[in-house]
């Protein structure tokens, strides 16, 4: 009877496409929106994950996430260096500064100051130049996306010309010369990232008593990290987190304190409801339209159980196609957007999530149809 079920379904092309499109829509929304959501959340901590070398980040107790800078006094660096179990500890400056471009425009940039001698905490990938070029006077390294987008100049035709090595810009009236181009993972704020040395960053930053943002710590080999963070906390009164902890804290801050999860949650829910409504409604009206055919099969001796399996098969077929198309479109979307500012992350768990969503919709749609057909009196076949 399976081939009959499938032919019945596909015989009605309009309805069939309607159901599949409803499910595709639902599946697309339920996959694509969470993918963007997860992409955005991953960006919140991408600066931490990009900075791979240190084991532990030390900062002010009140810091809630990576962009929430509460500066420390430079002397804290030496206190941390004195703690047993610490292999090395390096200063890091992180702050938003206004850069003045050649055409006089201003752009807020995320300026990172690295320890002058070791340059620890630098960008994960250098595209042009070398990180040691930062030692040249006024040298800065800028991320490629910043150069191509927010820091680019417009030529006479309105085309963007990216800044290149050797070009200069002004940070707080100080000259900065581009000596390298890096690739960094996009961050939540999507500001251009400017790497320079710690002492030069201090000269760019507005004069303040405290300018040290983080102390980056490497533990000696074999040192238990939890124990070391506890020791640093006790000895200095500062907060100390392993890299993973700091990422989690940042991530949780965004989950708890921004409207992002709610907004995406609402999108996903709407996708589910609209998809369920369209697909469920079309599927049910498909069943109603074919009720006479089901009646004929029933009169001729088809059991309710067989009819149930036929309807389930129809639901599974449209569900699989809709799901596949939705997921496929999402993947295409992600692929098309891979070089843009759009956040997008597509882990396999998302496939399970939207798959479950589409399955629920199909089961609901099939369920009301099955009820209808089960209760159908076969005697309707003689009604004209």
């Amino acid at each position: 009877m399976n081939h009959i079920a499938l032919k019945m379904l596909m015989g009605d092309t309009g309805k069939y496409l309607g159901i599949v499109m409803g499910l595709t829509f639902a599946s697309l929304i339920m996959t694509q929106q969470p993918a963007i959501f997860m992409g955005i959340l991953a960006r919140t901590y991408s600066f931490i994950s990009d900075t791979g070398l240190p084991d532990i980040w030390v900062m002010d107790e009140k810091v809630q996430f990576v962009d929430d800078i509460k500066p420390l006094q430079d002397t804290e660096l030496y206190r941390v260096r004195g703690i047993s179990g610490v292999a090395w500890a390096m200063p890091m400056y992180k702050g938003l500064l206004k850069a003045r471009l050649a055409d006089g425009a201003f752009q807020t940039c995320n300026v990172i100051g690295l320890d002058d001698t070791t340059l620890i905490g630098g960008p994960p990938i250098m595209l042009q130049g070398n990180i040691s070029d930062l030692r040249r006077s006024d040298g800065v390294i800028i991320d490629i996306d910043g150069l191509n987008e927010k820091l680019s100049k417009l030529d006479a035709d309105g085309k963007k010309i990216p800044l290149k090595i050797g070009d200069s810009l002004e940070l707080n009236d100080h000259r900065a010369i581009i000596v390298g181009i890096a690739k960094v993972t996009r961050t939540f704020q999507s500001q251009p990232v400017i790497y320079t040395t710690y002492s030069r960053a201090k000269s760019y930053a507005p004069k303040e008593r405290k300018l040290l943002s983080f102390v980056l710590v490497k533990a000696i080999k074999g040192q238990d990290l939890d124990e070391l963070t506890r020791r640093i906390r006790e000895k200095t009164g500062l907060a100390a987190y392993t890299q993973q902890e700091f990422m989690d804290i940042t991530y949780n801050y965004f989950i708890k304190n921004t409207g992002i999860p709610i907004n995406f949650g609402i999108s996903v829910l709407l996708g589910f409801i609209v998809g369920a409504a369209i697909a469920g409604q079309t599927f049910y009206s498909f069943t109603l339209e074919n009720i006479r055919q089901f009646g004929v099969l029933k009169a001729m001796g088809t059991s309710n159980w067989t009819l149930l399996r036929m309807i389930l098969l129809q639901a599974v077929l449209v569900g699989s196609i809709g799901y596949g198309m939705g997921v496929g479109l999402t993947a295409l979307f992600g692929y098309a957007m891979r070089h843009t500012i759009l956040a997008f992350k597509f882990p396999w768990q998302l496939l399970v999530f939207s798959g479950a969503g589409v399955s629920i919709i199909c089961m609901l749609a099939a369920f009301i149809s099955i009820l209808k057909v089960m209760r159908l009196e076969p005697a309707i076949v003689f009604k004209s």
């Binding site: 009169a299 001729m300 001796g301 004209s384």
Partner: protein
Amino acid sequence: MVDAVRCEKLVKIYDTGGQKVVALNGIDLTIKLGELMMLVGPSGCGKTTLISVIAGILDQDSGICELFGENVNAMRSKDKLQFRAKNIGFVFQAFNLLPSLNAAENVSIPLIINGVKRAEAERKAIKVLEQVGLGDRWKSFPSQLSGGQQQRVAIARALIHSPRLIVCDEPTSALDHVSGHNVMNLLKEVALHEDRALVIVTHDARIFEFADRIAQMDDGHVVKVTP
């Protein structure tokens, strides 16, 4: 020899929200194997209700309806389904072919319901379509066939599983005179034989000549059976 159908004091009352309609009011009727019985009577007298009960797709409220000596109504619902699938063929006024299946696929449905493999069922379907004169049209969909041809496909479907009883409700009233005659010829020549009975409900006086016996109904009763 056992009778094909034996109805005794059959009563069927429709209850539509408080309003009761007595559709069958004590029907006594016997249909023998090998005969073509026509049910005639004014509209609303209960003809369709009667063949629905006979075919086992509607339960009576009281009385007995035996098919080939068996009380189908008393069977478990699973056995009833199987009995119906094996023993009854249907022909409808509105043909009731599945529009997305071709002629052979439509005709094969009763065999498939009886558990025959699809390929074998469709092979047999083409043979039966040949018997009704549509051997070359087995690939056609219902929408590509005339009304008379569709009814012939429906007759092939009613025949394919060799049922012992075929019930037809107004099989000719959607057809013109010539097609109607062809369909009746087919039912009489191909469908009817000594191990099988046909019950045909009709308004169509032009086809009365095909009947072996005619049961005249009125207001839920069989008032006269001729001859």
